[in-house]
């Protein structure tokens, strides 16, 4: 008998075969021409537009939307990509509801912003579908830059450096480039192998070599890179994960949400990916939502997110929370895990309700248990494998201005660097700005 959502344990194929394509296809299908025209018509071409101010990469949004209106989506794409070379991915994964679209004057006027993200996708898709790379590399400068990490920050940095004529080598620990775009974002946000397609498109600028399977500290030493290259950019992300520090954490069936998402993203046939019947996700950020929603979409019967603070404190936006709820995920807030109960494999998780007090969060005596055969931990990632000699700010690499670290000739950006939100779009901005700074420095002699 085939498996169903009711099959106990962690098993694959809970859904009919055709359900997987539907569940993991585009969350929002791309606009067709007419839809794009209607959506674009709503833009007022605001002066000193609030949406631009709200975009970490400061894309000229009114201009690109006007270019769509005027029947020039590829020109619109150029406007986008000149500021944000990963504009295609950002169109898919940006929390636009808390960035450009939240700032849109029509959000204030009507509670219905111009659909900037989907319009951005329309434009960038139009250009990429034609295989056009609209930028031309400057004459070679003879300078060589090492970029560590082929995620959004590293790729944005590498592209901008290559554009200026520098020779760039990008190292990444994983087998494929893309970083979180490839390994860490919900599949339905970047369907159809977009992450790799975008990297291939980006590399058309020329002058960028990617070496995968090379991790800093394992296969590479910062000292060697500093010696062998004219500059080094670190976009190494947050490779570590926080532990629960709850009893029973080592039970079978308990794993990090990021590992689950990475495995899901690398699984070609999702009907073969096992998932629990009763899944509990601990945490309140985007990773928690991405793990929970995808668990549900794989056919788990019950999926519950449990977060220790209140809803407003959740890292996932209200929009993400609603999306989770609409998918059938239950969200419990104000409860923290006490222990994981199971004999070898997890069976239940016990939580205590919490109270916010002047001295911080406090566990109450009021407890409850959730049935669980699979638990995903999504309580945050941490910087890991930082080379010695780099000054830290809090738990991240300290940077000044456009990503300058405490070591001469070494820049950093993206999630590993202090400051800024841990968003794809922020990483792109930091990588781009560091590249400009590196360029200035290299050309100054």
């Amino acid at each position: 008998m085939p498996n169903s959502p009711l099959t106990p344990g962690i098993v694959p194929g809970r859904l009919p075969a055709e359900a997987y394509d539907r569940n993991f296809g585009d969350l929002y299908p791309p606009f067709d021409r007419h839809e794009a025209a209607v959506a674009a018509d709503r833009c007022y071409f605001c002066h000193d537009a609030p949406c631009v101010a709200a975009c970490p990469t400061a894309i000229d949004i009114p201009l690109f939307i006007r270019q769509i209106q005027a029947g020039n989506p590829e020109g619109a794409a150029k406007t986008i990509l000149s500021q944000n070379i990963l504009g295609g991915m950002c169109a898919r994964v940006c929390p636009t509801e808390t960035l450009c679209e939240e700032a849109c004057v029509r959000e204030a006027a009507e509670g219905q912003p111009v659909e900037i993200g989907r319009l951005q996708r329309y434009a960038t898709d139009a250009l990429m579908a034609r295989g056009i790379h609209p930028f031309t590399r400057a004459a070679p400068t003879g300078r060589r830059v090492a970029v560590v990490g082929a995620g959004p920050a590293g790729l944005a940095c590498a592209h901008r450096l290559a554009l200026h004529g520098h020779e760039v080598t990008v190292f990444d620990a994983r087998p494929k480039p893309g970083g979180l775009n490839e390994y860490g974002i919900a599949a339905y946000k970047t369907a159809g192998g977009f992450a790799q397609a975008e990297v291939e498109w980006l590399l058309k600028i020329g002058g960028i070599r990617i070496e995968t399977g090379k991790a800093l500290g394992r296969d590479l030493a910062l000292e060697d890179l500093r010696r062998d290259f004219d500059a080094v950019f670190l976009g190494i992300g947050l490779a570590g994960v926080n532990a629960l520090a709850a009893e029973g954490e080592d039970c079978a069936g308990v794993r990090d949400a990021v590992d689950f998402i990475a495995e899901l993203r690398q699984t070609a046939d999702l009907s073969r990916l096992p998932i629990g019947r009763d899944v509990v996700v601990i945490g309140g950020g985007m990773t928690a939502v991405d793990a929970a929603v995808q668990a549900k979409l794989l056919g788990a019967e019950n999926v519950t997110i449990v977060y220790r603070r209140g809803r407003a404190a959740m890292g996932a936006s209200a929009y993400e929370q609603e999306h989770a709820a609409a998918t059938g995920v239950r969200i419990i807030t104000g409860a923290a895990p006490l222990r994981i109960i199971g004999n070898g494999a997890v069976r239940e998780v016990e939580f205590a309700y919490t109270e916010e007090g002047p001295e911080g969060l406090r566990l109450t005596a009021d407890t409850f248990r959730l049935k669980a055969d699979q638990v995903f931990k999504a309580i945050g990632q941490t910087l890991a494998g930082v080379p010695e000699g780099l000054k830290l700010a809090g738990r991240k690499i300290a940077v000044e201005g456009p990503g300058r670290t405490s070591l001469p000739g070494v820049w950093a950006g993206g999630d590993c660097a202090a400051g800024g939100d841990d968003l794809t779009v922020t990483a792109v901005a930091e990588g781009r700005d560091a590249a400009e700074d590196i360029h200035r420095k290299l050309m100054a002699g």
């Binding site: 018509d41 071409f45 002066h47 209106q69 005027a70 029947g71 020039n72 590829e74 020109g75 150029k78």
Partner: protein, 434 residues
Amino acid sequence: MANLATEFVGIRSPNPFWLASAPPTDKEYNVVRAFRAGWGGVVWKTLGAEGPPIVNVNGPRYGVVWGPDRRVLGLNNIELITDRPLEVNLREIKQVKRDWPDRAMVVSLMVPCDEESWKAILKRVEETEADAVELNFGCPHGMSERGMGSAVGQVPEYIEMVTRWCKMHTRMPVLVKLTPNITDIRYPARAAKRGGADAVSLINTISSITSVNLDTMSPEPSIDGKGTHGGYCGPAVKPIALNMVAEIARDPETAGLPISGIGGITTWRDAAEFLALGAGTVQVCTAAMTYGFRIVQEMIAGLSDWMDAKGYSSVAEVTGRAVPNVTDWQYLNLNYVTKARIDQQLCIKCGRCYAACEDTSHQAIWMKPGRVFEVNDAECVACNLCVDVCPVEGCITMERLPAGAVDARTGRVVSGDYANWTTHPNNPMARAAE
């Protein structure tokens, strides 16, 4: 990337996008902002003769026609020529031209209809080192009542006379700005050419009342309960302007006369259309007044991208390219037979094509059970109304019947030969085919 630089009657500009003579070009502050935003040139707002400055109304100057979602489709205005002292304008023009030597600086003029007045102002403008003058024979309100603006532009003899004076008294190129408030644009254009004009620019604004306030029974814009006709411009006037530009471009008497196209240009596409119909540069006002100077960035990028895609390397290559295809009705091919085709996959079953055809055209669309709309070829005259009212792009198309096919409406076999009204048997004036 296509080179957008233009040379128009000796006036160089980095792109063909000029701001028309209007409020946006009334002073240095605006013009400098425009140049910073990327505009290729300006026609400075019309200067009048020396003397006490012009007086404007102190109530609303602009009326508007909105499309859905309050999109500005048309503006009208009752503002007069510059109300700033001549001296100040001239000083600023000189300064701006000095600071921005690569941009076109054309000065619009309107003075009383006597030779001395024109001679005097031309001398003053020459001192600014502006690139050219544009004679404002177009404004339909206020100044026309004083024998200027469209009062001159509506009398071809006056146009010719004043143009000749100007050509006599200045070395600067002379552009003559034409009013559309006439019956046939070719007459004033021919007059300008006879007078020696280097170019014409058109259209100026169209006499208009944008709306009536039904509570106060006052036309808008209302000044203390009364209104007057203003000059209408913006996207709504573009088709009128395109036709007038094309008429001048294809008139044997004026063919080749450089044209600066004006009228509702809002996007690169509008501009490209004016160029194709014979314009060498374009002038913009309402789009800038609605969206700000930054709008030119879309125009520059769009025109350049389109020229690249089409393989045009200069604006001059685009100018006039559609002119040979503008003809008289009598030369249209009557053997070009098309029928409407409705794509059932794209049809959203709104029935607008049916309503339009059934009520107002040729009853050539069937409405079948399940709201299926199909064309009845036996009635379809190919009027295109269904295409025009269909809300879905590409859903209804006009397909040409190949030669040899039978037109179900006429029962005749479609001929592959070109044949027009001049030789049609029903035409009493038809020339013999032999």
